[in-house]
């Protein structure tokens, strides 16, 4: 079985060369290829004139089914107008109740410790926007990788990276609040590794932290 035709024979098959233009040693191969090509059934396929009608009838049946109509009705957006009439004392009593609830919550927080897993990742005040940031680490010998930083209270388990196939590349994408964050990768749950492609600063413990700045326009080096 041949692994492929000579490029010149291919040119003949493509109609770019006449078979006579082939050198003598390729002439037989070219003629054989043309013979095989000629044996192919090239009869044009004629579609039935009724095919269009049958397809459209099936579409109409599908569209007219009660289930489809109900689904469309449920999915159609509509404008709703809601009018609320309240008395002033209702608003004031609601505000007082909310304030009282807030005080109770604050006092309760002071009395009982907050669980460690509380995902309080608000780093920058007044920065409600979040931006997706992709973290990548090449660590072919790692069994597990996570990213920990100021955005997740340095929790080693909060943001695991997943391996991208068997390439040794680990990756994850996180929604980070706008602001500057410090972070590091945690390899195999114990080894803290700086991002080798990001600027890094002294962490105060003899190691380094990587820096990422999240702006409303995306993550960048700042």
């Amino acid at each position: 079985m041949t692994n492929g035709y000579h490029p010149l024979v291919k040119s003949v098959l493509d109609g770019e060369l006449p078979v006579e233009a082939l050198p003598p040693e390729l002439r037989a191969e070219g003629e054989e290829a043309l013979r095989l090509l000629a044996a192919l059934d090239r009869t044009p396929v004629t579609l039935s004139p009724a095919l269009d009608e049958r397809v459209m009838a099936a579409v109409r049946r599908h569209a007219a089914s009660p289930a489809r109509r109900a689904w469309r009705w449920l999915n159609t957006s509509r404008d709703l107008e809601v009018r609320l009439r309240v008395r002033r004392w209702t608003v004031w009593s609601g505000a007082l109740a909310a304030a009282a609830a807030g005080i109770v919550v604050l006092l309760a927080r002071g009395a009982a410790p907050v669980p460690n897993r509380a995902p309080t990742v608000t780093i920058r005040r007044g920065a409600p926007e979040s931006v997706f940031v992709r973290f990548v680490l090449y660590a072919p010998s790692a069994r597990q990788v996570a990213v920990a930083g100021t955005f997740n209270q340095w929790d080693r388990n909060a943001a695991p990276l997943v391996p991208a196939g068997a390439s040794g590349v680990w990756t994850t994408t996180l929604a980070l609040p706008v602001g500057q964050h410090q972070y590091a990768f945690v390899v195999d749950g114990a080894t803290w590794v700086v991002d080798p492609t990001a600027p890094a600063i002294d962490d105060g413990f003899g190691h380094r932290n990587s820096l990422v700045a999240v702006t409303v326009r995306g993550a960048r080096t700042l």
Binding site: W154, V169, T191, V194, P196, P199, N209, T221
Partner: protein
């Protein structure tokens, strides 16, 4: 102010301080040993009394706990950071910003941490008049230094961009420009030279084609295997 008003202010301040202390304790509970939490709480209370931001101190303690740093080193790091925040606040004041936000003070502390001097922080604050945000200006200078630019040059480059009529976007784009140069094999010195040329109108800033984008904060590039203890 009436006596009643004065009492109200004092009670409010005491209440706020108490709530802040409770907040520190609650945020550190289970993350650091109890004695470390107590020491950090004392440092934070003292810092709050001086009008310094407390959040970075709590973050540093949490970071130390997560990294398994011995308690005494965590306390030392938090105390050092508190001192640096105070230094930064004074430097920012020296730059004419008497009512600095916690973000500006923290940015100043970060700048001092990477090697910028107090006078750099003051000077950068001084030139960061609206529309420039001093917190961003300080962070840019700090990031340039973290990328290998000597502090003196980092501060000068930022000041030059502001002084030569650059925009806030020009300032915040400086680290990405430097990182792109470094990714192409330039040294930090060469990157600064290019920024200087750009500042004189020969480069990209303020017109012309933008420089090639950096490797998205470095996180999309496949680098060498850095799996080692830092």
């Amino acid at each position: 102010m009436t006596i009643r008003g004065l009492i109200l202010v004092i009670v409010s301040a005491l209440g706020a301080s108490d709530l802040a202390a409770q907040d520190v304790a609650a945020r550190l509970a289970g993350r650091v040993p109890v004695d470390v939490a107590r020491a950090v709480e004392a440092i934070a209370t003292d810092a709050a009394a001086q009008g310094l931001p407390v959040g970075p101190l709590i973050q540093k303690a949490i970071e130390g706990g997560a990294k398994g740093v011995p308690g005494d080193r965590v306390i030392t790091a938090v105390r050092t950071l508190a001192g640096r925040l105070k230094q930064a606040r004074d430097a920012v004041h020296g730059g004419g910003l008497t009512a600095a936000s916690p973000d500006v003070v923290e940015a100043g502390a970060d700048a001092l941490n990477v090697g910028l001097l107090v006078r750099h922080v003051s000077d950068l604050t001084r030139v960061s008049r609206a529309p420039f945000d001093p917190a961003v200006t300080l962070r840019v200078a700090a990031t340039l230094t973290a990328l290998g630019i000597p502090p003196e040059q980092a501060a000068r480059v930022v000041e030059d961009v502001i002084g030569s009529g650059g925009t806030p976007a020009d300032v915040s784009g400086l680290p990405a420009e430097v990182q792109a140069d470094l990714a192409r094999g330039a040294t930090p010195g060469q990157a600064v030279e290019r920024l200087d040329r750009a500042g004189q109108g020969d480069g990209h800033r303020g017109g012309g084609a933008p420089p090639p984008p950096p490797p998205t904060g470095g996180r999309d590039k496949k680098p060498h295997d850095p799996t080692h203890k830092p």
